[in-house]
Symmetry: C2
Subunit: 396 residues, 2 copies
């Protein structure tokens, strides 16, 4: 099919498209209740959207008395591509215009191989999704990368764990490859947006999304919008100091959070416990799996291994120590914990909660839920689809 | 005179009033360049504002070719009252409609005496300013208090250093006393707004204002607007942990920033140094002044006393440790340091800068100025006047 070429001509049309995206098919009458437009002006804007093909008629609505109103919906053929590049894996998903995930593939990947190799894999996954029949093409793509992004240009800047990515024109290059508009953001920001769109943060205006993956990062949402900071590095909490003159960190400083927790630190500490014989349980799992990471530590903890439990508890406590400070500073309405390491489950969450509730001021924590994300691995790709749809559903 | 009773009737009028407040008298033609209004609609709105008396004619503007345009300005008789209640002092100032300070009085005060006693003093100072002839009455008042505020209602909530203030209806009570509209905010938020309006932060959209007074707090400005958090306690950084299991703090926790620095901690540590004989210099100043606080420590440091210098350096370093984390998290475009303890001057600023530049990520600090505020003690009252003028210059 011909891909989406039209864009909303004005702010009213953009608002109508977002309403149809977020709430699904709707009657003209009900749309009229939600936008500040006269009946006749609304009719004009909806008719124009119908002409562009972005919106299609969808039968008659249930009667509200008087003449029955017509339903409209976003074009059913619209397809968004969401790509979530982590440090060690890539997720690719296709959504419809309402951002429902129609297909989702994931595979291990090393971001250090550089943008060319990584995008080759991502595009191959996108091709597989196309071949599976969920999409004939893509109307737009959103992409998350595990580092700071100069947002308007879609270019990673000085990404510490991404050698070869600094200044790479991700947006431009992928737009050319895919033949559709592309938007790029930090992966944690997109996970926050995903949870806001379809997950646990749907009704919250100001919240933090803390991703504990290989590293630790934070998405900040203020008044419903992602806050990216002056140079796009806001939320880079992995190198906040938790111990003056503490453990050396890969960044060159000492005592950073990531020197104590996150997937990389956890794997290192678990390896040490296996090697040094303090945990026969972890040593056995290392022998069986050939490696030790969050899943093996989680399994060992579930089997009652005290060393594994202690690794999770102290790591959660260190993370909670940083979150406590952020809660005092930012006074959010919700803290969401996500990322691969959340497989550590309730022990981790309990350690984080204990530290935050103990250390932050009561006024900031009285009504503060600290919860796991709802979307799991789909948070990033959902946020990516939302990002590009926000862009396309804006006045040209 | 009759006080301001009119309010702008719509968003265009509100915008015009704020332009005249922020940029002073202006010609109709130049105002037209700055608002998105046709010449005829602009004329209608300006004429309506002239009818209300909020705006007055101010002679003919310089020619730009063609017919000369008329100047307009805000009514010269408009007066705003700014009240800044700190932990140990109260500042009261009167401004004109352009928020220029026409008179400013300050006196020592103890916030723990409770709202009734404190407002008695503040109102007495306001009366003195009236008597001095700078104002016949007040068209509105803004008030800052040293604790969290439920903003829309103007009521302090659970203020830790303000016994007797919890739930006191500051806005309502003062509005009745003064016979004019009143708005209330946290004092540090207002200092941030003051520096944004007339000080060092005029051109910055996202910045932090760190007040080091008796305690330590932070004003957060996001996209030009104060961010107050979900329950109004955002910026409460004095109890962020800087040392796990560190010094006991008055809040009941251990290792909080305020256990190490701020006016109260500094006075306690200086007293100890004087008492224990480690600093004869501080002991001598204590004997002379009867007390030891930031001014005495500053003077001792200026005289080369190593103990005083060390108190400032380690305190600044602890403060820098917290700011470093906030910079990584928030990625601001500017950090402003203000409050009474800034009398400690360059030694303090250098210690803070050293810690932040060493500990935060380079991407967040590359272009990050860390500077002292420009307005000194006028920051809070200027911000207070700005707060009430924002309220009055909004559509009714």
């Amino acid at each position: 099919m011909r891909r989406m070429t039209a864009r909303p001509a004005n702010a009213h049309q953009a608002r109508l498209l977002r309403l149809l995206r977020d709430h699904g098919p709707n009657s003209r009458a009900q749309l009229g209740d939600q936008v500040d437009l006269s009946r006749s002006k609304l009719a004009v804007e909806v008719d124009r959207l119908l002409e562009t093909g972005l919106v299609v008629a969808d039968g008659l609505a249930a009667s509200r008395g008087g003449r029955r109103s017509h339903n409209v919906r976003l074009a059913p053929a619209l397809r968004f591509l969401g790509i979530d590049i982590g440090a060690t894996s890539v997720d690719v998903a296709v959504t419809n215009a309402e951002l429902e995930v129609l297909g989702h593939l994931t595979q291990p990947m090393d971001v250090r191989e550089g943008p060319v190799a990584v995008f080759e894999q991502a595009l191959a996954l996108a091709g597989k999704l196309k071949a599976s029949g969920v999409a004939e093409g893509f109307d737009g793509a959103g992409i998350g990368v595990p580092g700071p992004v100069r947002f308007p240009e879609g270019v990673p800047v000085a990404p510490p764990i991404m050698p070869g990515w600094d200044g790479f024109p991700v947006r431009e290059a992928l737009s050319q490859e895919l033949g559709c508009p592309v938007m790029v953001d930090n992966d944690v920001n997109l996970m926050a947006v995903g949870e806001q769109h379809a997950g646990v943060a749907r009704t919250v205006q100001d919240f933090l999304f803390v991703k504990i993956g290989t590293g630790i990062g934070c998405g900040i949402v203020v008044g419903g919008e992602v806050y990216r900071g002056t140079t796009g590095s806001a939320g880079d909490i992995g190198h906040i100091q938790v111990e003056p003159d503490g453990r050396p960190c890969a960044c060159g400083n000492r005592g950073c959070l990531e020197a104590y927790f996150g997937g990389a630190s956890l794997a290192r500490d678990a390896e040490a416990a296996a090697r040094e014989g303090t945990s026969p349980e972890l040593a056995a799992r290392r022998a069986a799996a050939g490696t030790l990471g969050a899943p093996e530590v989680a399994a060992a903890a579930a089997a009652g291994d005290p060393v594994a439990l202690d690794l999770i508890r102290t790591g959660g406590s260190r993370t909670g120590q940083v979150i406590a400070g952020l809660v005092s500073f930012f006074n959010p309405g919700l803290v969401v914990i996500g990322g691969g390491v959340t497989g550590l489950g309730h022990t981790l969450l309990a350690a984080i909660r204990t530290q935050v509730y103990r250390q932050s001021l009561p006024l900031a924590t009285n009504n503060l839920p600290i919860v796991l994300g709802e979307l799991g691995q789909a948070a990033g790709v959902t946020g990516a689809a939302r990002l590009i749809s926000d862009h396309l559903f804006s006045p040209a």
